[in-house]
Subunit: 698 residues, 2 copies
Amino acid sequence: MAAHINRGAWAALLLLFMALPAPASLGEPAEVAAPPALMPAPENLVLGEGRFRVDETLSVGGASIPGDRAFGAAGRFMARLAGRTGLFLEQDFLASQKMTAAASVLYDFERTGKLEPFEDESYSLTVGPAKVRLSAVTDIGLVRGFETLLQLLASDEQGFFFPCVEISDRPRFTWRGLLIDAGRHFQPVEVIKRNLDGMAAVKLNVLHWHLTEDQGFRVESKAFPRLHQLGSDGQFYTQAQIREVIDYAADRGIRVMPEFDIPGHSTSWFVAFPELASAPGPYAIERRFGVAQPAFDPSNEKVYAFLDTFLGEMAGLFPDPYLHIGGDEVEGHHWDANSDIQAFMKRRGLADNRALQAHFNGRLLKILKRHGKKMVGWDEIFQPGLPADIVIQSWRGPAALVESARKGYQGILSNGYYIDLAQPAGAHYLNDPLPEGSPLDEDEKARVLGGEATMWSELVTAETIDSRIWPRTAAIAERFWSPAAVRDVDDMYRRLPLVSLRLEELGLTHIKNQDMMLRRLAGGPDIEPLRVLAQAVEPLKNYQRHSQGLTYTSLAPLTRFVDACAPESLAARDFRIKVEIVLRTGAPETAGELARTMTLWRANHEKVLALAARSPALREIEPLSRGLAVAAAAGLEALDQLARGERASQEWTESRRRELAEAAKPAAHAALAVVEGLGRLIEACASGPDRPVPRRDP
Amino acid sequence: MAAHINRGAWAALLLLFMALPAPASLGEPAEVAAPPALMPAPENLVLGEGRFRVDETLSVGGASIPGDRAFGAAGRFMARLAGRTGLFLEQDFLASQKMTAAASVLYDFERTGKLEPFEDESYSLTVGPAKVRLSAVTDIGLVRGFETLLQLLASDEQGFFFPCVEISDRPRFTWRGLLIDAGRHFQPVEVIKRNLDGMAAVKLNVLHWHLTEDQGFRVESKAFPRLHQLGSDGQFYTQAQIREVIDYAADRGIRVMPEFDIPGHSTSWFVAFPELASAPGPYAIERRFGVAQPAFDPSNEKVYAFLDTFLGEMAGLFPDPYLHIGGDEVEGHHWDANSDIQAFMKRRGLADNRALQAHFNGRLLKILKRHGKKMVGWDEIFQPGLPADIVIQSWRGPAALVESARKGYQGILSNGYYIDLAQPAGAHYLNDPLPEGSPLDEDEKARVLGGEATMWSELVTAETIDSRIWPRTAAIAERFWSPAAVRDVDDMYRRLPLVSLRLEELGLTHIKNQDMMLRRLAGGPDIEPLRVLAQAVEPLKNYQRHSQGLTYTSLAPLTRFVDACAPESLAARDFRIKVEIVLRTGAPETAGELARTMTLWRANHEKVLALAARSPALREIEPLSRGLAVAAAAGLEALDQLARGERASQEWTESRRRELAEAAKPAAHAALAVVEGLGRLIEACASGPDRPVPRRDP
């Protein structure tokens, strides 16, 4: 087979497919008809000659029966292909199966895949001029292969086609997850379903469903119905809905692992059952975020009886072999203050709260074993004395993962994949569960099962969660699936907007909800100035939004301008890159583009002010908008000076630096993302240009 | 109390609320911050002095407990108010109820409302400078009142406010429905839920859920599971989902009436049970649309036993007092061809197929009675001999409704409210279940319960259905709720875009999915030329899309350009009105607007061609786009001639008429909606202007 794909192969692929020039600059937004953007990149890809024409004669056939996974995958493939092309494809094979032998797209597989780690997800895909063959060991491999085939769709003057190609593909890691936190903000079933579709599109295979939190108990318990009745504000999943989601995920080859976070992060449990807690009640659902103190009482035998019943019920509801018990962020102040617990620790020789939690986990482990489940927990559960068949999920960092792998534990990495923190895709992309130069030996490496992107939901609702997950999680998915050598950030960014656009067909709202939110803020349809600003802005990163003078709670609205802004401004990245191009090469067309963009930004403020005058909810963005105008004006001056080949005066430079520093300040819980690029122009002026920048058109 | 609101009162309301000029022209799109747009208009409204400030001190209180309807309505009110304003309102009363006495928005009601016709839905709403009082007899009235209060939200330089006002309100008709056809195209639960929210926002109170069709059997039957297993392609509602929807609707004061369409429109039943049909099987799920021949065999005693069991099961699942049995469009060819049925008819003295169907309905009526349900059916079930406690739903026309009311039957009107046919909102709006000059006496009028908008789903999917329902159904909702005298079409169109925008907060996709679909067609984010064209275009109306050379089936993609176009182009209406203003008054600003719009249209074609060159799915729209450019060029010439005060030459006129006729031709299953306005300009040139049109700016 061919070598791993690389950037050269991608460029060849592009040139072969499209009667279009190859992209001229890095990170160029997808303004042209989409060339095939495979993400995750397959393990092996060999380009062939010719094109398989996608027209109304296309048909699909294979050995499967209605209701099974392969049949469903073929059906969704046809519906999505018809949807993208507008072609009236023959889809009635769903009922008649009449075209199996003559079908132009033929699939086959050997057996039904199991939903557990290390299952075979490989597939091979051969596109010839008249026939497409998709083969896999399991039907899960088929699901993966159909997604690749859809990503291959391209077009030319004759119409749609698949390029002739041979692909053999399989994942690098067996555990490729997305955590969705339905505890802090409830996420209705349709949110979960559309994100399962998104996950399948980029070959993720574990939905880690964080179901209980201080802020909400989100699953129906028939054993203890007061748990969800009192602990959820009525926002919980019925068991019928849970089963619906599990089936939906299984159809797409995705495991559903539930998390019940104990002994901390558990306030919502104690609203109904204060007697299980370490401090006296009563308890109310927590509305604030952060580390809350309520925790289960590990010295109380009734706690284990209760958890035995509850986890037994959940073990029956969730078929996954793993069950996540959380275990993170237990400070133990309530343990310290409880004399019964202190006496218990002394009696048992438990030296500190860590030892007490290890004792608790040891009891839980027995309970889970009895119910046939393997235990997963966060870093904190990693304690001497626990058996080696537990899985450690590392949120603290790669060192913790290395340590646990060396001690014989399986692990998954989440540190570096915290998509709630508004970091750029590129940063997540280069974060590797098994980085080059890992100190682990082969056996130890095998214990690193993969990783999970974590969508913590302090600051997301059903309206905004998709835009925090997508498209950045597609880059993380490539890290988990593709060969380690696939790590060209620029090429990832080339493909990302195309992948993002294709995710929309699954009902994901990551693009379309921005305009909707801006319309609501503006109170009308005229939102162009807000879009211009939103594309230049990013939400504050990490945990900075929590220290801006407003206390977010689980009931606070997440409908402000900052919530409409994407976590990463691809426009800002594009601008930065164009600035570098101009400074390095003096490309006149690019300089003209920069000038047009900055002129737009400079003129935008007046329009934003007009909107804000009529809309009180917009008034907080005035500093951001003014900052953009001022900084853009400075950038235009810089570009002019560079075009004249002049070095800027010190006075001018100092003054512009102050303006940029002012423009860079947070406002409305957001900040301008384009200041860096503009700053580069100012600094280039300050030091004098290496070469002249061409004069831009007025 | 005050007189009914009228246009004068609306204008006063506007002037009072806003520091803005009253709208200058009819039908102007909502480019300004939304003035209160109450829809449906309340029965009585008296303006007061002052403004109730909406800020973070606002709180809600009333006598209700978590989980009940009033509590839920108050909670949704607060969440939506916070969402629109971005204010961190105190919402924790949901758990604590601590603010009841001191709350600034106080609600009260006397009793829990019943979900049945003639329940009290009235409310009174008093907004004072410091206190809002909402009172109702039932909690359903409260739900209605909270929607009115939300619609009152306005803003000024100080921030958000409710204007001081006294409203007393109640519905004109007790049956205000929306039919959603989940048979021809399945509509997932989230589609139903978000549309229930939309219904509640405009005070509709009956979801008529069309659950079985030739193309699909959409409800889980535990008695006969093969019905949904074989009849639905896996696309059906589980009983748990049905209950979830019923609860969701009940929270919003909305009844859910199921329809099981028999004896015709029933092919999907016979896939599993061919022995119940009138012709021998086997049967397959129907993919085509139209009137199919399969029908239940009314002579077969097993049919009644089967239906007794099935309808008994459904009667237990759906709590509504009414059950709809369809009954429409039975041609009876299979009855004619079945000798057993012919013998049965002879034996029973049933003269024709109408009599045979009446016999069938009579048997059904007994079954429904036994299960405690009242029967509803389409016009065709209206037959001598049926008792007077059935309800006739008229799809054929007002004459049928009059006839049945005179004969003692209750009726609801759907003729004139077929929102699937892409008719303008104004046409539906003026269609009245009890029009002025109705020949009915008071007793007969009382039998006209109301009406239903019908969303038949031949040509809609979950992706497009919202845009076919909204915003036009809001105008129909006003017809059903507001006093008969509220029928100012221009004022309805003034409010409609504002109402439409506010519906987005409920998750409805009627606005945002257009861009998404255009991005998919373009294969990229640059869709402005497609938006320009889409706003000038409407889908072909009535049943014309079925005769354009492509056969639509239930599996055909509905993702083409026509599907992205709204059923009614408000831009085209706006253009027509501006043309009339210019021709009547010569308003120079308006002439300038027309010129700019036509210049945009004329220049748009080249950009569309560039997109279509890269996107095969767009090539079919080339004639529409060219037509728009040619017609706009003609319009610009006409405007110039009018400005010169010249009468056009006959040659010019003939030539332009031919161009417009060409441009008006359907293409891509759509047609230009702006040809009428452009044609008026041409014709004004042909006859010579009444007065000079001012010269436009270049």
